[in-house]
C-alpha cells in the first residue's frame, strides 16, 4: 500500500517537475524557435527555383506548395484515404443511427443477431474510429506534413498499399463483429488477428511520414508537426500493447482497456484534431498563432497529463484506489494544456472573426477547436469523484465522448477536407450552399444530440443513485432524451450524406464548361 501510494505521488511529482522544467526552459529561451530558422524558411539553394520576384514564395513565411510540386505527390494517397474515410463515415453513422433508434424501438430489426444493438453499436464505434477518423487523420497528415516541411512526400506508394490493407482489415473487422467474432472489449473489438493487418498498414503510413520528416527542408518543426509526429508514434504503441492476445486478463485487462480507449482519444484523435486546427486556422486566416511558448505548454502538457488519465473510467470499481485518484488528478491537470491551446487558437480566430464569414472550412475548424476546449473542460470536471458518481454508467458519458470525437475531431476534419479538396483537384465546390447546409445540419444535429444525452444522462444518474427510486425509473425517464438523440443523430447522418455528396461532386469528373469550372486567378 505504502509503496503504491508513493508511486502515485511520484507520478504526479514527475509530471509536475517536467512541466516546471519546460516553463523554466521557455522563459530562459532554451527552446525558443531559432530566429534564423523562423525567418529564413528556405535553404539557400531553394531560392533558385523561384522564377519571379512577384510570387509569394519570395517573402518570409510564404511558400508555394503547388509550384514546388509537393501537393501533387500527396494528392493521390490523400484522395484514396479521403474517399475510403467518407464511405466509412456514412456507413458508420448509419449504424450509429440504427443503434440509437433501437434504444427506443427495441423490437425494431430484432430478428437477426447481426442487427442486435450490441453489435450495431460496436460496428458504429469501430467504423467511425478506425474507418473514418483514423483515415481522415492520416490523410491530413500526409497532406500537411510535406507542406510544412517543404518537401514532397517520400515513398508515396506506401500509403496506397497501407490504405488497401487498412480498409480491408476494417471491412473484415466489421464483418467479424457483425457475425459475433469479437475480442469483446470496448474500442478493441476487432479480432486481434485482423489487428495485425491494421498494425502492418500502420507501418505503411508511418514510414513515408517519418522519411518525409527526416528529409525536411526546414529546420524548425511547426506545432502541427509535433502533434502529428507524436501521434503516429503513440498510437501504434497503444494499439499493439492493448491488443496483445493472451497477455491481459481480469481487472488488469480492464485497466489496459481504458488506458487504451482513453488514450486513443487523448494521444491519437486529439493530436489529429489539434494538429489540424493548428495548421488550418492560421493558414486560412493568414495570421500567425499567438505564442510559440504557449503551444509548447499545450503539447507537453497534453503528453504528460492526458497519458495518465484513462482509469477514471473505472472510478468506484475494482481497481486500486490510487490509480483511480491518479487519473482524477491528471484529468483536472488537463486544464493547463487545454487553456494553452485555447489561448493560441481562439485568440487567432477571435482577432479575425471576419474570416468565419469568408471561409466555410474555417467555420468547421474553429467550431471544432472550440469544442476541444469544451470537451476537455467537461472531461476534467466529469472526472471529479462527486460528479463522476452521477455521470458514470449513464448516457451522459456518451454525450461527452461525442463532444470529443465528433464535435471536436470530426467537425475539424470536415473543415480540413473542405479546404484540402479544391487544392488537390484544382476545382471548386459547385454548390457552396451544400457545405453550409452540411455545417448547420451537423451542428444543430449535434446540439440536439449532446444536450439530450447530457440532460437525460444526468437525470438517469441521479435516479440510479437514489435507492428509493426503482431502477426502472432510470430507464423510463431517459426515453424522451434517447428519442431526441435519434433526431440529432438523424440530422448528423443527413449532414454526412451531404458531405459525401460534396466530396463526390468535386472528385468526380465534371462535365461543365471550362469557364464555370475554373475561376480566373486574381
Amino acid at each position: 500500500m505504502v509503496t503504491m501510494g508513493l508511486l502515485l505521488a511520484l507520478s504526479f511529482v514527475v509530471s509536475l517537475l517536467a512541466l516546471a522544467f519546460l516553463i523554466w526552459a521557455i522563459s530562459n529561451k532554451q527552446v525558443a524557435p531559432d530566429q534564423h530558422d523562423a525567418r529564413v524558411i528556405f535553404e539557400p539553394g531553394d531560392e533558385g527555383h523561384v522564377d519571379s520576384g512577384e510570387t509569394a514564395t519570395s517573402r518570409p513565411y510564404h511558400f508555394d506548395t503547388v509550384r514546388s510540386g509537393i501537393d501533387a505527390v500527396s494528392t493521390r494517397p490523400v484522395a484514396v484515404l479521403l474517399i475510403a474515410a467518407t464511405v466509412w463515415l456514412v456507413i458508420g453513422s448509419v449504424f450509429g443511427l440504427v443503434a440509437s433508434l433501437k434504444l427506443h424501438w427495441p423490437d425494431w430489426l430484432s430478428d437477426h443477431a447481426a442487427l442486435t444493438f450490441g453489435r450495431v453499436r460496436t460496428l458504429h464505434l469501430n467504423l467511425v474510429i478506425y474507418g473514418w477518423l483514423s483515415q481522415v487523420g492520416i490523410a491530413a497528415m500526409i497532406w500537411v506534413l510535406p507542406r510544412i516541411f517543404h518537401t514532397p512526400l517520400r515513398a508515396p506508394r506506401l500509403p496506397l498499399i497501407g490504405a488497401a490493407l487498412w480498409n480491408a482489415a476494417v471491412l473484415l473487422g466489421a464483418i467479424a463483429i457483425a457475425n459475433g467474432w469479437t475480442d469483446g472489449e470496448e474500442w478493441l473489438e476487432i479480432p486481434w488477428q485482423l489487428d495485425l493487418v491494421l498494425a502492418l498498414a500502420g507501418v505503411f503510413f508511418m514510414v513515408p511520414l517519418i522519411k518525409t520528416t527526416l528529409a525536411r527542408q526546414v529546420h524548425h518543426i511547426y506545432v502541427t508537426g509535433w502533434y502529428f509526429l507524436a501521434g503516429i508514434l503513440w498510437f501504434p504503441c497503444l494499439f499493439v500493447i492493448a491488443n496483445l492476445p493472451y497477455v491481459h486478463s481480469g481487472v488488469e485487462e480492464a485497466t489496459v482497456n481504458w488506458w487504451f480507449a482513453h488514450n486513443v482519444l487523448g494521444l491519437w484523435l486529439t493530436p489529429i484534431g489539434v494538429g489540424t486546427a493548428y495548421y488550418f486556422i492560421p493558414k486560412i486566416i493568414g495570421k500567425p498563432v499567438f505564442s510559440y511558448a504557449v503551444s509548447l505548454i499545450g503539447f507537453w502538457g497534453l503528453a504528460l497529463f492526458y497519458s495518465q488519465v484513462g482509469i477514471h473510467h473505472l472510478i468506484g470499481g475494482p481497481v486500486p484506489t490510487w490509480v483511480a485518484t491518479l487519473s482524477v488528478v491528471h484529468s483536472v491537470m488537463m486544464f493547463i494544456p487545454v487553456i494553452a491551446v485555447a489561448i493560441n487558437q481562439h485568440i487567432t480566430v477571435g482577432q479575425n472573426l471576419w474570416a468565419l464569414k469568408e471561409s466555410l472550412p474555417l467555420r468547421f475548424i474553429a467550431f471544432g477547436a472550440l469544442m476541444y476546449t469544451m470537451a476537455s473542460f467537461q472531461g476534467s470536471i466529469e472526472a471529479l469523484r462527486s460528479v463522476n458518481s452521477v455521470t458514470h454508467f449513464t448516457h451522459y458519458t456518451v454525450g461527452h465522448a461525442h463532444l470529443g470525437a465528433y464535435a471536436f475531431v470530426t467537425i475539424t476534419m470536415f473543415g480540413a477536407v473542405y479546404h484540402m479538396l479544391p487544392r488537390m483537384t484544382g476545382r471548386v465546390f459547385r454548390w457552396p450552399a451544400l457545405i453550409n447546409a452540411h455545417f448547420w445540419l451537423v451542428v444543430i444535429g449535434f446540439a440536439i444530440y449532446f444536450f439530450g444525452l447530457s440532460i437525460g444522462g444526468w437525470l438517469q444518474g441521479l435516479a440510479m443513485l437514489d435507492g428509493t427510486r426503482p431502477f426502472s425509473e432510470s430507464v423510463i425517464l431517459t426515453k424522451p432524451y434517447l428519442e431526441a438523440r435519434s433526431v440529432g443523430g438523424a440530422l448528423m447522418t443527413l449532414g454526412h450524406l451531404v458531405f459525401a455528396f460534396n466530396v463526390a461532386s468535386i472528385l468526380l469528373p465534371q462535365r461543365v464548361p471550362e469557364s464555370v469550372r475554373t475561376v480566373p486567378a486574381e
Binding site: 443477431a113 444493438f117 459475433g180 469483446g184 507524436a230 485487462e253 480492464a254 504528460l304 495518465q308 475494482p318
Partner: protein
C-alpha cells in the same frame, strides 16, 4: 523544437511512464496466484454462454462492477457487494462495462436464479418489464409446433406466446442462461481484495 529524435524519445518516454503507472504497476498489485475462496472456474457450458454474452455486446448496457454502498445503492438493489479485483480471476475478456442502461449483472445469478425466467426475458424482455428497452433475442429461440424430447420450452405470459406452437430455447440461449446463472460473487470478499475505496466516508481519518 527542431529535432525529431528528441521529440520522439521524450514522447515515447512519457507514454512508457504512463504505461508503467496505469498498466504495469496496478497489474502487479492486482496479480494473484490463486482465485479467491468461493469463486470457481466457468464450466464449459458457462464459458460458451460467456462467449455468447461477449458476442452479443451485452457489456454496452450492463456493467459487472457493483459499487460501494457509500457511493451508490447497488447493494440495496440486490446487485451484490462491491466487487474486488480478485472476483474477476477467471474473466477474459473482462466485461466490467461502463454503462448501466440495464442493471449491473455481476451477481445476477444470485439475484435471479431462475433459468426459466431468464429464457422468457431473453426471448422478449417486454413480456416481463413493459418499460424495458433491452433488445429481444428471438434468434436464440426456435418456434416449434410441438416440443420434442429434451427441448426446453420457454414460459411466456399470454400475449407474448406465438399463436401456434411453442418457443424452444436453442443451445446458445441455454448456454447464455447458464453463464448468467453462474454470475454469483456473493461469497465474502477476500480480505486482500483490491478496489477503489475513494468513496468511503472520511469521518475519523486522522
Amino acid at each position: 523544437m527542431n529535432n525529431y529524435l528528441p521529440l520522439s524519445i521524450i514522447s515515447l518516454g512519457i507514454l512508457a511512464f504512463a504505461t508503467l503507472m496505469l498498466v504495469i504497476a496496478p497489474g502487479i498489485e492486482m496479480a494473484r496466484p490463486e482465485p479467491p475462496a468461493g469463486l470457481r472456474p466457468y464450466t464449459a457450458e458457462e464459458q460458451r454462454g460467456r462467449d455468447v454474452y461477449v458476442s452479443m455486446g451485452c457489456l454496452y448496457c450492463h456493467s459487472q462492477q457493483p459499487r460501494a454502498p457509500e457511493q451508490a445503492p447497488d447493494g440495496e438493489r440486490g446487485w451484490g457487494r462491491p466487487s474486488v479485483s480478485a472476483d474477476y480471476f477467471y474473466d477474459s475478456p473482462h466485461q466490467l462495462g461502463t454503462m448501466r442502461t440495464g442493471p449491473d449483472l455481476l451477481n445476477v445469478g444470485a439475484r435471479l436464479p431462475s433459468e426459466s425466467w431468464h429464457l422468457t426475458h431473453l426471448y422478449q424482455p417486454r413480456a416481463i418489464f413493459d418499460w424495458s428497452i433491452m433488445p429481444a433475442y428471438p434468434f436464440l429461440f426456435e418456434v416449434k409446433a410441438k416440443a420434442e424430447e429434451g427441448d426446453v420450452v420457454v414460459a411466456l405470459p399470454p400475449g407474448f406466446a406465438p399463436a401456434e406452437g411453442v418457443v424452444v430455447a436453442s443451445q446458445e440461449a441455454l448456454d447464455l442462461t447458464a453463464y448468467l446463472l453462474s454470475l454469483d460473487r456473493t461469497y465474502p470478499a477476500p480480505e486482500d481484495g483490491i478496489r477503489d475505496d475513494g468513496y468511503r466516508p472520511r469521518g475519523d481519518a486522522e
